[in-house]
């Protein structure tokens, strides 16, 4: 099992969610986050003075899937989150040891389906 965490532009969320559902993902978690990459944020203008926004608002979504689905899910995110401009975000894939569904106590494959 793998956890896929993606930092994306907030306005791409709807598209990404649809693609993930099409790819067979049954559940996902979304968090509003702030951060920056190589561009170190951006500048804005207020009353003639520039100021820097170091941490830009982003959306982080996390989804846990069976290992064989990872490529499909990653492709779905890349395809739907990409605008081609800086700030499109990153995807992180990591191992998940165990999954438990709280209501039933089911674990791993049963808990994910």
């Amino acid at each position: 099992m793998k956890m896929i965490r993606a930092i994306i532009k907030p306005f791409r969320l709807d598209d990404v969610k649809e693609k993930l559902l099409e790819a067979g993902v049954t559940g996902l978690t979304v968090t509003e986050v702030r951060g920056h990459g190589r561009q170190k944020g951006h500048t804005e203008l207020y009353r003639g003075a520039e100021y820097s926004v170091d941490f830009v608002p982003k959306t982080e979504l996390s989804v846990v899937v069976m290992s064989e689905m990872v490529d499909t899910v990653v492709d779905a995110i890349v395809e739907s989150a990409r605008s081609g401009k800086v700030g499109d975000g990153k995807i992180f894939v990591s191992d998940v040891e165990k999954v438990i569904r709280i209501r039933t106590g089911e674990t791993d494959v049963e808990a994910l389906s």
Binding site: L45, Y46, R47, G48, A49, Y51
Partner: protein, 426 residues
């Protein structure tokens, strides 16, 4: 027609005119009172969210202090029997209203509106002047130090210079013209604000040690925009009511002219400020457009009657361009931190408005206008500085650095304007 019937009819017409002019005065006064709401929203929008509740508290309480102080002593200082053309008289409370017989006597000297309606109209002007101070010292002044200053400013400082002009004092005798108060109200408020800001210093983090200027963006621009629209609307009362009368053809036409010119000047100021900001900074700067509209209004306040609507638009536009230059100059060259631009909008542009009287009013002289500007500024700035210094010595005027970082909402009011979003920002 029988003579008695004619007399009866003439009396009825006088009564109707008296009622109409009083009614007009009261409604225009209520419009100006609403400007307090405009200032509250503008200031609440242009400060950070951690100082919202404090600035709202300041605005509604300063309005109330102005009302009480002006009733107790201010109105009599400004319009009571004066000792000389420079030294006002002093007495407490409000007098009675007009006798019906005096009104019905008719003629030039007969009163044509209620005395209390005059008090009501004037008292809301004092509050306007005091509101100007509130925005400039925002986000770092102690709440109660501000209230202490408000008592002296609305009770004594403002009414004294008001008497010099509108109370028939020496500025009026010298031919100084100020229709609705570009000087008496707006520049006076800005002069008091400037003296306070100079003693108070800039907000923490506004200017870097290397001389850099940091932007401190306002928390809520919809609110600031609403405040500007409310002020724009209230200004129809401010200038329109200052015509003092509507009940004959000439006065009705004049009042309409004042409304039209007031509106045009604001529009001109807004457009000019936006265009200049776009050319200068490369972006359509909303808060400059808001300040530009207000600058247009301040520009036309000294003389909203004699210019043509085209000239009024131009006078407002020059004010709107001037305010952008002034805000940037005060900020970057003089390091005077004025979060809402009040000193530029009301002070620098107030001076322009007083000078612009000469463009359309043949009775105006440059010498008298300059004299008025100098006298009002020197009096208000000087006396305000003394009062601020006394307040500073007695109770201090600036909150602690820690309170400034935490926000004045919690420090002064013990609450937050938006408790659901309690994340602290610098």
């Amino acid at each position: 027609m029988e003579p008695t019937v004619t007399t009866q009819l003439a009396g009825d017409i006088l009564q109707t005119k008296y009622a109409l002019d009083t009614f007009y005065f009261l409604v225009m006064g209520a419009f100006v009172m609403w400007m307090a709401a405009g200032f509250s929203m503008l200031e609440a929008g242009l400060v950070r969210s951690k100082n919202t509740a404090e600035i709202l508290t300041k605005n509604i309480v300063l309005y109330s202090i102005a009302c009480v102080m002006y009733m107790l002593i201010g109105y009599n200082i400004m319009y009571g029997d004066s000792i000389s053309s420079m030294i006002p008289g002093f007495s407490f409370g409000l007098g009675g209203d007009n006798e019906a017989a005096a009104v019905l006597a008719g003629g030039e000297d007969a009163p044509y509106y209620s005395n209390l309606s005059d008090f009501f109209f004037q008292v809301v002007f004092v509050a306007t002047a005091m509101s100007i101070v509130s925005g400039a010292v925002a986000e770092r002044m102690k709440l109660w130090a501000f209230f202490a200053f408000a008592i002296v400013f609305t009770g004594i400082i403002y009414p004294t210079q008001g008497m010099w002009k509108w109370g028939g004092g020496f500025l009026d005798e010298a031919g100084f013209l100020d229709f609705a108060g570009s000087g008496v109200v707006h520049m006076a408020g800005a002069a008091a604000a400037l003296s306070g800001v100079l003693l108070l210093g800039a907000r923490k983090g506004k200017y870097g040690k290397d001389g850099s200027v940091n932007a401190i963006p306002g928390a809520n621009l919809p609110m600031a925009t609403l405040g500007t629209f409310i002020l724009w609307m209230g200004w129809f009362g401010f200038n329109g009511g200052s015509e003092l009368k509507v009940s004959d053809i000439a006065e009705a036409n004049a009042t309409a002219m004042v409304f039209v010119n007031t509106n045009m000047a604001a529009a001109g100021g807004c457009i000019a400020a936006l265009l200049l900001a776009r050319l200068w900074f490369g972006k359509a700067d909303l808060t400059m457009a808001l300040n530009g509209a207000l600058a247009g209004l301040v520009s036309i306040t000294a003389e909203p009657l004699t210019p043509s609507p085209e000239l009024a638009t131009l006078i407002g536009a020059i004010g709107g361009a001037l305010v952008v230059v002034s805000i940037i100059t005060l900020d970057t060259k003089f390091k005077i931190d004025d979060p809402v631009g009040a000193i530029s909008v009301h002070g620098v542009v107030g001076i322009w408005g007083l000078l612009a009287v000469c463009l359309s009013n043949p009775d105006a002289t440059l010498a008298a206008q300059l004299m008025g500007i100098g006298v009002i500024f020197a009096w208000v700035f000087g006396t305000s500085l003394i009062v601020w210094l006394i307040v500073k010595a007695v109770m201090g005027i600036r909150v602690s650095e820690e309170e400034e970082y935490e926000g004045l909402d919690v420090g002064e009011c013990g609450l937050e304007a938006y408790p659901e979003f309690n994340q602290t920002r610098t």
